[in-house]
Every structure is written in structure tokens, then in C-alpha cells.
Amino acid sequence: MLQEKISRRTFLKATALAAGALSVGAVGTFSFETWKKAEAEKKDDIRVIPTLCTGCGNFCGLNVYVKNGRVWRAVGLPQHPKSKGKICARGHGLLATPYLRQRLTQPLKRTEDGNFQPISWEQAFREIGEKLQEIRKKYGPGVIAHISYAGQKTAVWYGQRLLWALGSPNTFTHAASCYAGRGVGFEHTVGGTPGTDIANARYMVYIGRNLAEGITPGDVLELAKAREKGAQIVLVDPRVNNMYQMATKWVPIRPGTDLAFVLALAHVLIKEGLYDAAFVQEYGYGFEQFAQAVEKYTPQWAEEITGVPAATIQEVARGLGKNKPRAFIHPGWHGATGTQYANSVDAARAIALVNALLGNYQKEGGLIFGKTPPLGNLNPAKYPAPEKPAIPRVDSEWPLAHDVVTAVPDKIRDGALKAIIVNRSNPVMHYNNPLYAREAYKLLELLVVVDIFMSETAELAHYVLPEVSYLERDDLVEGVGGKKPIVAMRQQAIGKIHPETKASWEIYTGIAEAAGVGKYFNFTLDEVNQAMLAPTGLSLNELKAKGTIVLNSPIVLGTPKFNTPTGKVEFYSTEFKAAGLDPIPNWKPPLVMPDVSKGEFRLINGRQAYHSHTNTTRNPYLLVLTEDYHGDRLWINRRVAERMGLKEGDWVEVRSEVATGRVQVHLTEAIHPEAVFIYAPYGSLAKNNPGRNFAFSFMTLLPYHKLDPAAGIALTQEVIVTLRKI
């Protein structure tokens, strides 16, 4: 720990020097008179640049204040629906990103002995381009893939264009370890994932969704408003999360059994006639089959499975039913419905259906399908566009999912993938069993990583291409759907810190030219942005001046449209049926269950308010919070721990079937006795990551599962562990 402290101090001094006149910690100790005098003598040059955060997938709108050429502070943009004027701890902390010492500063090529050697951009582009052409010629274009972070529009858009130009359809995002279960479940039940009208709701149930730590700032603000108006907020979670303070009730549930809880809610709503029969009649497909199926899922049945008293299940169902349609179960994100259990997709479908029973779609205080802003594209007459390749994707055995990045390690092992370009993603670390993934990625003939840090994936790459940080570049215009759609864009706030870094769009253009497909990249980022904005009537300069612009075309509530094959809420899913899966979300147990009598626990994980991914643990402002508040400790039920002879802060070895980790324990009453909990971003394996020394990564303990047939999700909580005091 001491070592970490020293390195952070050194970091500060180094950056202070780089900044010239930065006075670390000076303001707090000056008297106002001294400060005023000093200020009167020197005029600070302060500029305010509206742009977008990069802390998580929300990409909140923010105003960055640049003082004398250096990033100073940020505040949220009020007109951006995700931020609503607020920015979370991550958003503030990441302002230090451009100045971090661990940044990549020049293109690197891996040598025979595994070290990296700096090379020029010309050499990097030329060699990558040649290699891509060679691989394409040898195996066909289908062995090339692109992996990026789903929210990063520039990487997604340019990455797909490059792959299509090369003839490959294999573009992947991180969805399968984040929200894919929810996406697939909702898409094939109600036609998409709706937003939530939190501020106007009277009764809300959050199942494994935690707005206070997996933060969307605008939602937290709405939640506080709803609470002030007397809304009931119920948390269903194996542990007390930070939303507790704003909630009215915590329902501790046995992890992995959320589907049973939701099915029992459906049972009560139908049995007690609390559902919206008119809505179901008008908009439902196959309701009778569903109603018949949930007949057996009584609250008493669910009590056995979930550990939640039948009376509590009845109470929650009645709370929802009586407050409908200003009531909802939140669709979730990464939790129960996301990617954690073998039954997560069915939990998502069941939640979509209970919301339909409440008749809350397109109603105030319910679930709302937003309107998507109209965005254009480049004129193909002037800018030739590559066709979507006709060859099948390497993950085409998952007909219901969009992309299954979790399958990539096995696809490499099978020889179906030979070359991968990764941008702003860390697939070696971010999915099950990184050691298994690492061995697979080593088999690639070409691995190119575009990043700002040396990630675990970058360490394996043949070429590492340094990007500029989010505060040093423009990105593609993005549209955010909602009650009122918006357009927003990230724009450059400060000058380039490291001259030999490039923006993604320049990197893709360089690779494309060298790979012989440059004709598809005969434009600048500004030209794409102008084309995208054209249908909105806005100019690029207008958008740059405001950062986020609300398009004045609010949706009309009342009449929902469901984008499913039947055009209805599919209580009986035609697409699941066609895929050979259960058309009704019947109860299915999770893949594994801990045997408590043998001292087994389920290892569960979740988001922390001040970290997103392994990359945020590189940030000194955020990492020091981990240290000060012991944010990396493993939660364990106090009584269970005391029986094992454990005290607060004791070190334990955590063992799963594939690996072990070392961690300190946090004893608390606020967790289910059958689970142990760890925050997600720790235990980095990257050599230069300061977060490397903190706890362990739950991913390292996770087996590389046979993936679920519907969404190919990572099953990130299907892991049993035992603990041993060390």
C-alpha cells in the first residue's frame, strides 16, 4: 500500500510540473483576502467546453472547465437526460485521465521475446495492413473480428465499416458480460428495452438494479424526487446496496432465484385480479398460456426457492397492482436480468411481462419506449459504403443475440478467428476465466489493440496503438432516445498531451488505407458528423457550442407499439419457440447452487459508486477511495463469518473450481448468508495498473461456461467458492 501512495504522490508532482503553474492544494489554505489579492494580480484563462463523460456507458453530458490550458473541473449538463446536471464520482475523477503517467504514448510492436518496441505510425499501419490482407487471402475475410465497448460510437461505427470493407461481419461489443440478457429478454417479449419514468412512479421494484452504485445520475435525481412525493421503492437484492438510504424496503433474496420471485408476482397479480385486463386483452399475445403456466408459481412455492416470505411477495405484488400503471419493475441492467445467471434471460422476459400485467407501457410513471433521434449517414455517391458481408457470423448459433463476445476465446481455439482488432475494450480480462481467454488470444495471428493504457489484452497484442484520451478528441455525434430525443457529442477540451497519439477515426482510416480499402474512408470525422446531423437541421457548430441539444419532438404517451413479430406483448414468445427454446419464461434454476453445509458460497459481484471497470482503478482519485473505505473487501454475513472464526479485515483465500484469490473480509449483516460479495473492478492482472494490488477479480474465479443458448451471456454469478482463513 505504501508503494502505491508513493507512486501517486510522484504522479502528482510530475503532472504539477507538466502543468506549470498548478498550485496543488493551495486554495484551501489561503485566506480569502490573500486569495483575492493573488487572483487580482493574475488572470486565469478559463474556458468552458461542453462534451461527454467516458466513465461508464451513460456518456453523460458535461461542461469541462479548462483553466490555463489544463482540465480543472466539470459540472453536468442539465439538458442531457443521463446527467440532468449531475456527474458522479467517476465522472469527476476521470478528469485526471489525460495526465496519468501510465498512458500509452507511441505505437508499440511486440518483439519475439515478448517485449514491446516503439515504432512509427507509418510502420504500424503498413505492417497491420499487410498482415490483414495476408490473413484474408489465406483464410477468407470471416476470420477477422472487431471488439469494442458498445457505448463508444466512434469505435463501433468505424470498426464495423472497416470490418465490412474487409468482408467480415464479426463485430463484437461487451454486451454479453453486461446487459445482453436483459436486451434479448425484452427485445423478444416487448420489442426493445424501455426507459423508466421514475419521477412519476408511485411504486417501484428494483431487482438486482442499483441506481446508487451502477449510477445513472439523472435517474438518481428522479428517484429522490419520487421519494419526496411519497413513492414506494422496493429493493430486491441479496445485499443491502447504497440505494437503501433512498428506499422504503429491502427484500433479501437468495441469489439466482429472482425469476421465481417475479413469476410469483405474476401469479398474485393474475390470481387476485390486480392486473390490467383491458391492456392484456388489447396488447397481449398468448396470455392464456402464460396465465396457465404461472398458476403453479404461488408465493408459497416461491418462498421455498427464494427465501422471501410468501407474505412479502404478496405485499409487493399488491403494491404494484394497486399503484398501476404508475408502478414498475425496473428492467435491470447488469444484475438479475443482465448476464449473471443461466435464468437471467427468462427473468428479463418475466419482468417485461409483469410490467405488461401492470399496463404501464407508454404511461406516465411506467416504462416508456423513447423516440430515437433522426440521424443521417454519408452520401454513398460521394463516399462509397461497404456492403454488409453475406457470410455468416462466427457466433451464428445464437439466433436471438446480436453478438456473443463471450464465445470469442473458443472461436479462436477452433480456428474460426485469426485476427482481432480491439478498441477501448479489454476482452482478455472482462469475461470469464481470463487465464483461459489469455491462452486463446495468444493463438491469434494478429491482435491489434487501440487503447490509452496497457491493458491485459494490450499486453498480448502484436501491435498497440495509443489513442488520445476522451478530453483530447472529437467523437461521432450520438443520439439518445427518450421522451425527448437528444443529440450530443464529445469534443476536444484540451490540446494533445502526447504528440504521438491519435484519435480512433484517424487510426481506422490509417489501417484501412494500408489494408487496401481506403476508398471507404475518404472523409473526415467532421464530414461524418455533418452528414449525421443533417436530418435534424442542426449544424455541427451549433452542436459543438451546446454539447447536447434536445430535439423538440416529445413522444405522445398512451398508445404503445410493440416491435415483435406479432406486434404485441408476447406472453408466449414466437421467436423463442422458433429458436427451440421455452416460449414461456417458466422457472429454471440457476446453473449451480452452493451447498451451505459444505461451507460453500455463491460469489456475487456488483458495481461500486466510484469505479466502473478495471481501467478506473488506474485513477488515483478513485483508487484512494477504495483504500480509505476498504472498497475492495469481500462482504460476508457477520454471523456466518464469526462461526468461521473470521474478524473484520482478516485475509482469506477464496477458491473456486478454476482459481483462487486473496482478499480481506468485510463482516456485515447486510448480505444473504449464502453469498459473498465483491465489487467488480479489482484484481487487475495488467503489469502497470495500480489497481493490480487490490483484492481479486471475480472473473478470474469464474469458470469458462458453456454459454446460455438464448443470449450467450457470461453467467458472471454462476460460481461457487469456499473460503479459508490465511
Partner: protein, 179 residues
């Protein structure tokens, strides 16, 4: 002249520490120095448990022991009742740190003098809200003039029966909490 105070409504606090980090950037503090610290309390036994996260910073007391115990007058009460430190007078004895019942002062390792929340003093003079108030996700923080009976701050203090963390200590803090 205003008498500045703040209300923190814990029922709207997400415990997210956005206030802590935004304060650091506003005041150009190093990563280790926090003017706002969180204390977590846990009550009950499983499954009847509750948790509360309480953000604590300089309370800008009307009777500040830090000011009374400062031997050189470096700690003083400035305009608006805001407690400040004049670094030029500070000898680094840390009496103020030990006398603060709220543990609100931290040491600047560069200058070896104490630092703490200054209610974003320079910025509120220009009509800005303190950074922690601007960024608070739940809108849990209200800043304003305790002498103005019409202020939102006074309205909420009265409506929600807000009170200081430890009124029994007699320092008359100007930060009021709602549970």
C-alpha cells in the same frame, strides 16, 4: 450579510461520493486529501438490516473550537460566518485538527498545514453554489442563507426538522442533517 449554512438530506443521499471527488477538483486537492468524508452505520441483524451513509465536512460552527484553540489566529471566522484558515499565520501545530469534534480537518502534506472545506468561499461570493451542492446526484444538499427566513434552506430545515449531527457538543454547526 448572509450567514451561510447547508442542509444534507440523507434520505436523498446515494452515498456515491460525487461530492467528495468534485470538491477535490474544485479545490485542486491531491487525491489523498478529502474535505468530505463518509461514515457508514449499520443497524439490525439479517434480514432486518439498515445502512446509512453520512457525509461529513467542516460544519462551519458558530462556536468553532478550532478558531478558539488556534494560538496564532490563523483559523478565523470570515464573512458570512465561514470558517477559514490564513496559511500565512499558521505554524502547523495542529491544535485545530485535534479540537474539531467532527474530524473535519486534514493535513496538507506539502505545506504541513491543515486544510478543510471552505464552503467554496471564493465561488459563493460570485453567486455560485458550492461544488458538492452542484454535483449531488439526489439533490440532497441545499446551500443558502440561514438569516433569510424565505430561503429554501430555512424552508427545508423547518419542514424536515433538520438538526446538526451532534447538537449536544455545543459548537452550533451550520450544517443540518435530515434522517
Amino acid at each position: 450579510m448572509a450567514r451561510y449554512g447547508m442542509l444534507i438530506d440523507l434520505t436523498k443521499c446515494a452515498g456515491c461520493m460525487a461530492c467528495t471527488v468534485s470538491c477535490q477538483f474544485q479545490n485542486e486537492l491531491p487525491p489523498e486529501v478529502h474535505f468530505i468524508k463518509f461514515y457508514q452505520q449499520e443497524y439490525g441483524t439479517f434480514p432486518d438490516v439498515s445502512l446509512v451513509n453520512i457525509p461529513v465536512q467542516c460544519q462551519h460552527c458558530e462556536n468553532p473550537p478550532c478558531v478558539y484553540n488556534c494560538p496564532t489566529g490563523a483559523s478565523y471566522i470570515a464573512e458570512g460566518g465561514v470558517v477559514l484558515i490564513d496559511e500565512s499565520k499558521c505554524i502547523g501545530c495542529k491544535y485545530c485538527m485535534t479540537s474539531c469534534p467532527y474530524n473535519a480537518r486534514v493535513l496538507n502534506e506539502e505545506t504541513h498545514t491543515p486544510m478543510k472545506c471552505i464552503f467554496c468561499f471564493d465561488h459563493i461570493q460570485e453567486g455560485e453554489q458550492p461544488m458538492c451542492v452542484q454535483t449531488c446526484l439526489g439533490g440532497a444538499r441545499v446551500f443558502g442563507d440561514l438569516d433569510d427566513p424565505e430561503s429554501e434552506l430555512n424552508k427545508q430545515i423547518n419542514e424536515k426538522k433538520a438538526r446538526p449531527l451532534r447538537p449536544d457538543l455545543g459548537t452550533k454547526p451550520k450544517i443540518f442533517y435530515v434522517w
